[in-house]
């Protein structure tokens, strides 16, 4: 058990008591006291109750913002009223590096059909077509993606038909996404829709075989704060070729050629495991899970990749890189360790980061008392082995499952079943992810889709040294006297991936958990003793 005076069970009861009965019953299943030996089921990926202030966004946000947002040479045209497009305009900190200043980069733009009352009443297809023609004429992009927001499906606009028609007319790749915000429970539904779209319309189109001996795709890094650049650096240093990254610092051309790689490594399981699975079925590329957050985790992941290719030369080179990088990492860790050890963190974010970042806190000698995802599924908590037992509800049924078949000419299993089995012996588990719970302490509180109200209660009673979430939570938590580290955007910091990322994170956390500003809330002339937040009776 973790050492804490807070009785987690009691916390849970206190919080649930406040809710109306039905809601309490629902939330109860999403709050689990962890037991790493026996994994308890948790309710996840179910719709947030109305009136609950959630961290979650919408399906459109997951589709447009997350997966295709970081790709610089596609025009993402949002079909809908203006808000949805405006709010997703350059609000994530994913970075991109066009080869020359003149190279295409549409990421700075926000394109919308800006539906008006008249379009809602009379239909918006004509306007959409005109908008596609316009952006083509002005920017001459090679691809255009059309993203539907809430009203589109309801008024019966067929974005797919428009996309097909425009593709024929303009001769470039144009495809649509039915990612209306209400379709799914959270962003996660949008990830799935985007994965499907990439598979249907993009991956496999490229015929040029990329050069390189060890060819890898990295799935699920979005180059937030330059994470992808740091990882590119390590890949290169190790002599590995990154054929494509889904989707940090990416281009359509690289996506199109992804099937020429020999391995998919999955960073964020939640957002992109579908592509990994589908590519395996269609092209025979195996995938395994990696984690590049945390220096040890990064080292371990690169060892796994080297082992997969099995070439001694590569294995040695990777070891040399790790030795060199770890020396720097350890030097920094030594400097901060005394300031961070024993401190407490909480992480509520995303669909993988709440798990991955625990590695960094462990390296800092800190413990994670409570964690949960914003849009994770049960498999992200309990491991992929639960997938067959997950109940498919109306919301999940709403998202298309593509029927993928082996590609007649291009299917090529990179490893035989025997080779895979041999690698499994060495600890390389394919198609597998064990989830967050197994890595967490016994007694830790795991909460899915933490509500704003629950967050306040958590902080009030636990007083963690750092709380990790996003900008929506930041100022609320900080008003409560606890520093909040943004793990979506990294607050202006980063990168936090790879070795240099670990060093950055160590420094930032050491600074954050030792801040003294809150001691100054009371002016020196205010003499009463501060009353600690008490447990609500």
């Amino acid at each position: 058990m973790i050492h804490t005076e807070i009785d987690t069970q009691r916390w849970k009861e206190e919080v649930l008591k406040k809710y109306p009965k039905k809601l309490a019953k629902k939330r109860e299943k999403s709050i689990v006291v962890n037991d790493s030996d026996v994994i308890h089921p948790i309710q996840a990926n179910v719709r947030t109750a109305p009136g609950i202030i959630t961290q979650r966004g919408c399906t459109y946000a997951g589709c447009k913002g997350v997966i295709l947002g970081p790709t610089r040479d596609i025009i993402n045209l949002v079909h809908g009223p203006i808000g949805c497009s405006f709010y997703a305009w350059l609000t994530r900190r994913n970075q991109t590096l066009p080869p020359t200043p003149e190279s295409e980069n549409f990421m700075n733009y926000c394109f919308s059909t800006d539906m008006q009352d008249s379009n809602i009443v009379f239909g918006g297809e004509l306007k959409l077509k005109q908008a596609v023609r316009e952006v083509f004429e002005i920017f001459k992009p090679k691809s255009i993606g059309i993203f539907s927001t809430c009203p589109v499906g309801l008024i019966g606009d067929d974005v797919h038909a428009v996309a097909r028609e425009m593709k024929a007319e303009l001769g470039i790749n144009i495809f649509g996404f039915s990612c209306e915000g209400y379709k799914g429970v959270s962003q996660s539904a949008g990830h799935h829709i985007a994965n499907n779209g990439l598979m249907k319309h993009v991956i496999g189109l490229g015929n040029t075989i990329p050069e390189g001996k060890y060819k890898v795709n990295m799935l699920g890094d979005y180059n937030i704060g330059g994470d992808g650049f740091e990882l590119e650096r390590i890949f290169e240093k190790c002599g590995l070729t990154l054929v494509s990254s889904f989707s940090g610092n990416s281009t359509m051309e690289k996506f199109e050629a992804a099937h020429h790689a020999d391995l998919n490594v999955v960073v964020c399981h939640r957002s992109i495991n579908y592509v990994a699975e589908m590519m395996e079925k269609k092209f025979g590329l195996p995938w395994f899970k990696v984690n590049f957050t945390g220096a040890e985790a990064t080292a371990k992941s690169f060892r796994k990749i080297a082992e997969y290719f099995g070439d001694q030369e590569l294995i040695d080179r990777v070891e040399a890189v790790i030795a060199e990088e770890m020396a720097l990492v350890n030097a920094e860790l030594e400097k901060v360790y005394d300031q961070t050890k024993g401190k407490v963190a909480m992480l509520f974010v995303g669909g993988s980061r709440a798990h991955h970042f625990q590695e960094l806190f462990t390296e800092l000698g800190m413990s994670t008392l409570s964690a949960g995802y914003e849009f994770g599924h049960r498999d992200d908590y309990e491991g992929r082995s639960v997938i067959p037992t997950i109940k498919v509800d109306a919301d999940s049924r709403n998202i298309e499952e593509l029927d993928i078949e082996q590609d007649e000419t291009r299917y090529n299993p990179r490893k035989t079943e025997e080779e895979k089995a041999a690698l499994a012996e060495k600890g390389i588990e394919f198609n597998s992810y064990d989830g967050m719970m197994k890595d967490m302490l016994k007694g830790a509180l795991i909460i899915d889709d933490l509500s704003h109200y629950e967050m306040e209660k958590l902080i009030e009673l636990y007083h963690p040294d750092v709380f990790c979430a996003g900008i929506k939570e930041k100022f609320c938590v900080q008003k409560m006297g606890i520093p909040l580290k943004q793990l979506h955007s990294y607050d202006y910091g980063g990168p936090y991936s790879g070795f240099e990322g670990a060093i950055n994170f160590y420094k930032d956390i050491a600074m954050i958990v030792n801040t003294t500003i809150w001691k100054k809330i009371k002016a020196p002339w205010e003499r009463e003793v501060t009353i600690e937040a008490e447990y609500a009776a």
Partner: protein, 469 residues
Amino acid sequence: MESSTTKMPGSAASVRNACKLCSPLGASLVFKGIHGCIPMIHGSQGCATYIRRYIISHFKEPVDIASTNFSEETTIFGGHKNFNLGLDNIIRQYRPEVIGISSACLSETIGEDVNRLIKEYRQMNWGSELLPELVYASTPGYQGTHIDGFHETVSATISTLAVKDAKVGEHINIFSGFVSPQDIRHLKEIISSFGLDYVLFPDYSDSLDNPNWEKYHLIPPGGTLVSDIKRTGAARGSIEFGYILNEGAMNTRVNKAKQVLTAGEWLEVNRNIPYHRIGMPIGIKETDKFFELLEWFSNKPTSQKLKDERGRLIDSYVDGHKYTFGKRAIIYGEEDLVIGMVLLLLEIGIEPVLIASGGTGGRLKQMIDELTEGKTKDVKIMNNMDFESMNEMADELKPDIIIGHSKGYYIARRLNIPLVRIGFPVHDRFGAQRLQHLGYQGTMQLFDRIVNALIEYKQENSPIGYKYI
């Protein structure tokens, strides 16, 4: 890639880099200005999340907005179940005094009758002491922009809560529009200095810019009290800032019959309260109008302190004129803010070369020409603008400075000229909630910032590196 060489053919169907946000955002801001209020957006969860995120990144404060979280099923069978559940859940968690409900694109598209839902909910919960005031504003994102949502909500709140048939009081109403928390604080100081009793709505000067707390508050303190909103119905007069106000929504509606009055107009028509509409008090001339009104209402002269502020402002106009005179500016933003800024710029000798708004009212040019008595006759003044259109026009206009919110930064960067940030959203500079625009004091702040931006530009681009300018 930061090119501007491309031209938009014909009438635009696509908006490239919008200069407007959607109406439920405006609604949420107003609801944040009611004491003890939790805003709830009736529609999909994503809108509430995006809107929260956006408001938070500007104000850097907690902003809780609930949603009724439509699913596919809700879009087919209607939102009443979600609506009731949403209210129940908010009430149990937050015990709010008011729940401010706004619609969004989805609920409007399916034609949800929210007023009926409210009526039913009230009936179901009649007598419950927890039942808060329920205020509803209709704010489809496809009619007008965030500013229309703002004014619609001010008006809806007043028409829902303002008392009827009460004895006329001594107080006046101030509907100050979408201004910064610092602006609101300053306005309150000004009005108090005249010894006037007043109701200012919406007052988010605390709720969107709170001090750090010793004790956590579920609903951030601040906001116009419900009791105060009620007594707007018994005021002896209303002052409303803005010449365009909610014309954007009205202009874009297919069903033109659905005309909405602004709060001031509504009180005049329905409560017989005299109504004074003036522009945002930016610049000397427009601020004078405001002070004249306050002197008239209070029957007192402006205090020496404020007179001195005016005097200092004029003094600085004189001193700073050499830096501003003849400079060319692009200005963009909400229509009423832009109008105020243009009037200020003309006072300080800056020539507006492009005056743009994403607002959809359609009368920006007419209004500005009227107010400037034709001085801007040949200036490009445009509604329905987006940033790419401005970007394309920018080179030819040879501006020295751009004035507007953060979203136009890329144009300033490409042209290598300064951007003075005003209004909303400002998420690439610190302290947006404390930016001041109104009154002599606010004008002084704006003037200082404009002058310093021009000086800094000159300094940084001079080969000599003057330290003495």
